[in-house]
Symmetry: C2
Subunit: 397 residues, 2 copies
């Protein structure tokens, strides 16, 4: 059996990142992965400006009273400040040449004679935002390989960048096999089960930003499965399925992938989980998740999602921070050979957050995945006592 880390590393090494890019307006680039770094072509802010509504003045002129020689709203260009006068100024407006401080209006009294008197000592630089204080021209503002967040797009806008070059979305084709599978909404014949894998896997891929081709349920037939694989390899970067990859006789997926390409069938020391298939069909990668929904879901989160992110062009530190919380449960009979990934939820107990585990950790129980906030990873043989500090691998919302 492979360890979880071995399987993960092997998949990551095998990932073939998307190379094609496209240029999009900012508001279409949310959640996409940047293909080229963004450098600042300007200083931000472009010139010294006021951090407050108030009065710009020369410190040398003291606390007044001073006559008001000009008025500088945001968006205008001021005249140089005459010595011995103050300028009415508003937040974001440029500092006039000669001025070296701004006094906020709450600290200023406009006298009956039109002169302004300041109730605060004036220090040089006070309430002035300096040109380039946020970003200096030429600085790398966003890096290739990063996932674009809302704040990133705002940052790009702040330096005048209107479009970004991002990788095209990863194309993933999915299909599902098993004559016992019935689509939801249809009556359930005896011995059949509903196809739940399609309905968690496709949304997970959508949320990851993939372009999903959903080929639905394929009959348990070798020739039909081979045809589907050929079709899928022509249009997708990665082909995924659930089930059909264990050693059972009714599994045609394994034989079909071997006939159309190549396949590695792994046993991984993971619970729930264990079987995982990885291979190639034409130029496309192939991933066969276990058919059991919980096994498939956990294997996807732990092993396959990082692989797909790498394929999509994401370059990130593989070590993600995880927070630790006390266990609110005991786990006394661990698996001695496999790492276990328990489905857990954060609950508040006496004002303190602790982890609860879903009572039934059986691998048929998809309820546990919907209920959980994330996973706790236990080493083979690792017991848990209440109060033990455990790392939470949180699911994304």
């Amino acid at each position: 059996m492979l360890t979880v880390d071995q399987a993960r590393d092997w998949l990551l090494q095998r990932a073939q990142p998307v190379r094609t890019s496209e240029t999009l307006p900012l508001l279409q680039a949310l959640g996409r992965i940047l293909a080229e770094p963004v450098l600042a072509g300007v200083d931000v802010p472009p010139q010294d400006n006021s951090a407050m509504d108030g009065y710009a003045l020369r410190c040398a002129d003291g606390s007044g009273p001073l006559p008001v020689s000009q008025r500088i709203p945001a968006g205008t260009q001021p005249q140089p400040l005459q010595a011995g006068t103050a300028a009415r100024i508003f937040t974001g407006a440029p500092i006039p040449a000669g001025a070296d401080a701004v006094v906020m209006q709450e600290m200023a009294v406009l006298q009956a004679d039109g002169q302004v008197l300041f109730s605060q000592a004036v220090k040089p630089g006070q309430n002035i935002r300096r040109a380039g204080e946020d970003i200096l021209r030429g600085a790398t503002v966003l890096s290739a390989g990063q996932l674009l967040t809302a704040a990133d797009l705002g940052l790009a806008a702040s330096i005048g960048v209107a479009t970004l070059t991002v990788y095209r979305p990863l194309r993933v084709a999915v299909f599902f096999t098993g004559d016992e599978l019935t689509e939801p909404g249809q009556p359930l014949a005896a011995g059949h089960i509903y196809n739940s894998n399609r309905y968690w896997l496709v949304p997970e891929l959508m949320r990851l930003g993939c372009e999903v081709t959903d080929l639905g349920i394929v009959p348990d037939s070798l020739s039909r499965t081979r045809e589907i694989l050929q079709d899928a390899a022509g249009l997708a970067d990665v082909i995924m399925t659930c089930g059909g990859v264990s050693v059972g006789e009714e599994d045609h997926v394994k034989a079909a992938v071997e006939a159309e390409g190549s396949l590695d069938l792994w046993k991984i020391a993971i619970k729930p989980g264990k079987p995982l298939a990885s291979g190639k069909v034409g130029q496309a990668g192939f991933i066969g998740l276990p058919g059991n929904p919980v096994s498939g879901f956990v294997t996807y989160q732990v092993l396959v999602k990082p692989y797909l992110q790498r394929c999509a062009g994401l370059q990130q530190d593989d070590t993600q921070p995880v927070a630790h919380y006390p266990a609110g449960f005991a786990w006394e009979r661990p698996d001695t050979r496999r790492e276990e990934f328990l489905r857990v939820k954060l609950v508040q107990q006496d004002g303190r957050w602790q982890l609860q585990r879903y009572p039934n950790q059986g691998s048929g129980v998809l309820t546990s995945c919907a209920w959980a906030d994330g996973l706790v990873r236990l080493a083979p043989g690792q017991q848990v006592s209440p109060g033990d500090m455990l790392a939470l691998i949180a699911f994304a919302d």
Copy 2:
């Protein structure tokens, strides 16, 4: 000044949740908010079935050798098991009447005479998944007011539910004011700045699942702002803008909202931040964020996002768990009157995660928001020494 908690509570109380719902196929419901609970109409699994590929038998028949009397692939209906025989069975296939255990195939040897011999003691119930083990008929599987995740959709599918009734998306109209604002991609005139607020706010609203009407930049004119407000009130549940709500003379938004509806202008003890406007125009709510991008971004995350989620129909525990990490920085001159929200990032130092703060916490620096993993909330006057444990309010990805 209002405290942050007072402002948040006041906004949440004022939120008017969307009442209209629509029924969607599962794969269109990701990220939507459920309007009606989902009850299980079936047991999951619907009948006892095999957890393994192997042989179903009666424990009373011991470890064999037993003749193989039938073959039960998944998706078929078995005959009752003849006493003194075993049935070849596959994962997910129904247990035949009379059988009370399954032996995995790795523990079975098929002899030359066609009989099967078991190398493992057989215990009643072994390797059988029981009907209803996952979900009992009639149980509440998903609750009204919850955000639908991928696992939730898989769970709905597993009980045969093909459509879900969700609230229609929250409609939010946004506009931006300020004659100094220039759209990215345009040359920047002296004294002007790029409109960055549009490019973080619209994506944040998109990610929240809102239907956004983006009215762009409105000239600094009272009459034009009033027209825009009238238009927006006719099509949106909530109208949002950035800037124009402080006490400066150049702000027309305040006067326009007061003329077309009602407005509360708050000073909140938050840094960055402070001014926040909340009001109504017709039936629509109005939110005026501070115009400074960092102030707007932080105020949005801390105060406005929970309000919008409530408006969208989300019913959730307001107390979200936050993880604590040691500070990797000092903060020696806290604001004495306002709570501060520092932009921080998790970094690994000697194998341990700690929080670093962005060096420039000035409110003009949008870089800090793009760089940060989240916020640290400090009470007025609260200093930080390296090693202090601080709660991280993480930004969603």
